[in-house]
Amino acid sequence: MSDDLEDRLRRALAARAEVVSSSDLRPAAPPPAPHRSRGPFLVTGLALAAAAAAAGVFVLGGGWSPGGGTTVAVPAGWTATGTSGTTGATPDAADGGSPTSPTTSAAPSPTVTLCSASAVSVFVLPDTDTRRHGGGMNHQGATIGLTNTGAMPCRLTGYPGVALRQGTTMESEDPNTRGSTSYAQDPGPSTVVLPVGGSAYAEVSWTSADGVRPATSVDTLQVILPDQRTVLTAPLTSVLGGDRTLTVTALTPIPLPLNGSGG
């Protein structure tokens, strides 16, 4: 019995650890070191990169500037601290559906480019016992994840454009309502830097009650990145009713906490 468990542990740990391969790691190359007070360049670089990684990360509501101008100090991760509505980019800087200006002046760093739809994949974060949508009142919702599948960190600002389809038939109505959903508070738009393999999240909710028309079933979630027009999809089975519109929050570096989902 315990042997069984030990064996299972070994296999699970190996599987988890081996999800990470060398190609997932940040570039090892150190920044060009202007001052060489101690040690070799590599090590100075290490220290700098470590400091940068420890200090600078993520939700940059508008003004993260990489000071020294090094290139490796791209914020490549995030911590769970700064999600509380740091804003900076103006709301209209991030327009889900209509392609206006491709970049915003609140760009965090010239070295982090806008995520391209071809290097982003969409998934729906599965509900768990402790974090779930549903729970009565005909509210429905989902947490969308956008994963950076490219080779470089990239950034996204603002709100994604979302829609629900049955097959190829569009069932939801434009435009999205931007703001707090039935489950989560909208922290407002900010810039999220996605490390390679990292994800940004948004909450979407809708109602399944009959509205002007009878409710309908849907099987596909459609997402358009802020400021872009390429359609990305992920499977999502639900019922859409009410006025057929969707409410969506801004993108955040971690899934938003859900309220009142105990049900």
């Binding site: 650890a17 590599l42 769970a80 402790t130 906490p257």
Partner: protein
């Protein structure tokens, strides 16, 4: 000293990308054998250390931060390291300590967020794992930090009880009891989850 010199003036390290197995910490010290330089250690051990860290902190970005810090600390102490062959052990110790601080910071940060249960970061990474592995990893995240460390060092790093004791700075007896309690807890969690099926 050869090591100090090679540290001070790094010849461009040969571009052979050392794998984790490449820089092995040998137990017997051949005087003619070149000691590993920090660069070689970095090239050879970084991935292994990131993998160790990710088992402790769940997400890749934090794991990489922890490992960078560990190498930076190793650099700072390099001249005081009695035996560069012991560097791997030192690195492992810093990674475990760094991971623990990271978790502590994360808990503190969580305390400021109104609804207490933020999901584990890195949840999307887990999506690629088989269901049975995912359950184990989720159960592991529910352990106390020390229990988790002991389990990871034992079943992933394959360390002996004595080595785990040294790495964590606790007694072998504590390692043993911590491991046994952790296994009990895991068994309970897993049987609740996947039980009646």
């Amino acid at each position: 000293m050869a090591t100090a010199l090679s540290l001070r003036r790094p010849q461009r390290p040969d571009t052979r990308r050392a794998d984790a197995a490449d820089v092995v910490v040998t137990r017997h010290h051949d005087p003619d054998e070149a000691l590993p330089t920090l660069e070689q250690l970095y090239a050879g051990q970084r991935l292994a250390m990131v993998r160790l860290a990710i088992l402790l902190v769940d997400d890749l970005a934090s794991a990489e931060d922890v490992v960078q810090d560990a190498f930076a600390a190793l650099h700072a102490h390099w001249h005081r390291l009695r035996d560069p062959h012991a560097a791997t052990g030192y690195l492992r110790m810093s990674v475990v300590n760094g991971a623990r601080s990271m978790l502590r910071r994360r808990r503190t940060a969580r305390a400021f967020v109104p609804p207490p249960d933020l999901p584990q970061p890195g949840a999307d990474d887990l999506a690629v794992l088989a269901e049975e592995h995912r359950e184990v990893i989720a159960a592991l995240a529910g352990l106390a930090p020390r229990q988790r460390e002991v389990i990871v060092l034992r079943y992933w790093s394959d360390l002996s009880e004595a080595q785990i004791a040294r790495t964590l700075g606790i007694s072998q007896g504590t390692v043993k009891s911590t491991a046994s309690r952790a296994l009990d807890a895991l068994e309970r969690t897993l049987s609740q989850k996947g039980g009646p099926r």
